[in-house]
């Protein structure tokens, strides 16, 4: 299971490089927070926290900002989404997709707040609204694939019946 998640994180990392070249409305599509949130939805809050940390840490290595900020943000958001998921016994597929979309957008907001705390002036970006909107929409599009991949990585330990039951 750990090897599968590691493979997914590395693959998502290089896909992130690819997609950052294509910027709809000037916004870079984010894959790693989507992966982290999917880990929380399928694998539960602790899984989301662990995958979120490593996905964020790997991403931070390539960014000029504070090392560890993405790790902190992704693990918190993925944990929160996973906790919400665990509070519901069964969840329709579309709700899972909405959760992933909201989680990814929330990660952008929390990152902006965290970056501001560390002196990066992230809140003063004039495109914060566009960033949240584009990331939310792209996360919703990527969510079905992300949730399937998360289910594959969890293997038999996927613990939330009712999610993607018709997948």
């Amino acid at each position: 299971m750990a090897a599968r998640w590691a493979l997914l994180i590395v693959t998502a990392y290089f896909l992130q490089l690819f997609l950052s070249s294509l910027r709809p409305a000037g916004v870079a599509i984010q894959i790693l927070p989507v992966l982290a949130v999917c880990a929380g939805v399928i694998g539960g809050a602790p899984r989301g926290a662990i995958v979120g940390f490593w996905a964020g840490f790997v991403f931070d290595l390539a960014l000029p900002g504070p090392l560890g900020l993405s790790a902190l943000v992704y693990c918190l958001v993925a944990f929160a989404v996973g906790s919400m998921q665990e509070a519901v016994l069964q969840m329709a597929r579309w709700i899972s997709i909405v959760l992933v979309s909201v989680g990814a957008a929330l990660a952008m907001v929390v990152f902006a707040l965290g970056g501001e705390l560390f002196g990066d002036h992230t809140l003063s970006t004039p495109h914060l609204g566009s960033i949240i909107a584009v990331v939310a929409v792209s996360a919703a599009v990527m969510a079905p694939v992300g949730l399937r991949l998360a289910r594959w990585a969890e293997g038999p330990d996927a613990r939330l019946p009712g999610v993607l039951a018709d997948a």
């Binding site: 290089f14 992130q16 490089l17 690819f18 950052s20 070249s21 294509l22 709809p24 916004v27 870079a28 984010q30 539960g44 809050a45 602790p46 926290a49 662990i50 979120g52 940390f53 964020g56 840490f57 991403f59 290595l61 390539a62 960014l63 000029p64 900002g65 504070p66 090392l67 560890g68 900020l69 790790a71 902190l72 693990c75 918190l76 944990f79 996973g82 906790s83 952008m108 990152f111 902006a112 970056g115 560390f118 002196g119 990066d120 002036h121 992230t122 003063s124 970006t125 004039p126 495109h127 960033i131 990331v135």
Partner: protein
């Protein structure tokens, strides 16, 4: 006592948060090992970046509109920027020569022939919040170092903030944390300014007295004096607005940058480092 199934999530999130904060704290101390790890990661990634950039270039051009029109627009913008910079430099040269001649000094504006390196912006940034930085495709392998000014035909873009073998992170002039000394070319008045954010003018908020004769349109260049993180004479832009601050007995200047930050592609890096 909480059931084990409830303790595990709390324990896990606590450990992950503590680990994240530890990494942030270590990174904040700017240890050489951390810098080396990040530089190593950038070096490993740079061939992958270049590959993805070349793969996506046709798609990006497609979504960007008609290639011929854009190319022509870029050429015309570059010409306009160059003309603006030449006008600023000429005004500075004329005024300094007049003052020097008035004092019977035999000295001329040194067109200091500093070595430069041409660089191109890399396909990043990868994050949506790298508003005040950009990445170029040259590094220590080309003789670049931290502190080198980065310019275009239009004027100052920023300075190199960190560098690896074949990549450099450029801190842009729009960064509110970037302060530097300026000079008004037409009057030789000195001041201090800083970036004010993306799509915002450069703000000169220190050093310009109320008696200084500042008008809109005057040229602003680097002074190379106070906070000498730049060599003298690099065009920054032109005064767009003057506000008189009576309480502080200063004038606040809004400077429209000469360089067009929205169309950055090829830049020049001046191989000059601050001595202070």
């Amino acid at each position: 006592m909480a059931a084990p199934s409830r303790r595990r999530p709390r324990f896990t999130i606590a450990v992950m948060v503590l680990l994240s904060i530890t990494v942030l704290t270590i990174d904040g101390k700017n240890l050489p090992v951390v810098r080396d790890v990040r530089r190593g990661a950038v070096q490993v990634l740079s061939p992958v970046e270049d590959l993805f950039s070349s793969i996506t270039r046709p798609v990006r051009s497609f979504f960007g509109g008609d290639g011929d029109v854009r190319t022509e627009n870029d050429r015309l913008r570059a010409e306009v920027e160059q003309l603006r910079a030449e006008r600023i430099t000429d005004a500075d040269v004329v005024e300094r020569l007049r003052q020097l001649e008035a004092q019977e000094h035999v000295s001329y504006l040194e067109a200091s022939k500093l070595p430069t390196e041409t660089a191109r912006l890399v396909s990043g940034p990868f994050s949506n919040f790298e508003t005040y930085t950009t990445l170029i495709d040259k590094g220590t392998g080309s003789g670049l170092s931290v502190g080198n000014p980065v310019v275009t035909n239009g004027g100052l873009i920023g300075r190199i903030a960190s560098v690896s073998t074949d990549r450099s992170v450029v801190q842009l002039l729009t960064d509110p944390d970037l302060r530097l000394g300026i000079r008004i070319a037409e009057t030789q008045v000195l001041g201090d300014g800083r970036g004010a954010g993306a799509d915002q003018p450069f703000i000169v908020d220190h050093g310009i007295s109320l008696t200084a004769q500042i008008v809109e349109g005057q040229s602003v260049i680097t002074s190379g004096l106070s906070r000498a993180i730049m060599p003298p004479g690099i065009p920054i832009g032109a005064v767009a607005k003057v506000t008189r601050d009576q309480s502080n007995q200063t004038q606040i200047l809004e400077v429209a940058p000469g360089a067009d930050f929205s169309t950055l592609n090829v830049v020049q890096v001046i191989k000059w480092v601050p001595t202070g």
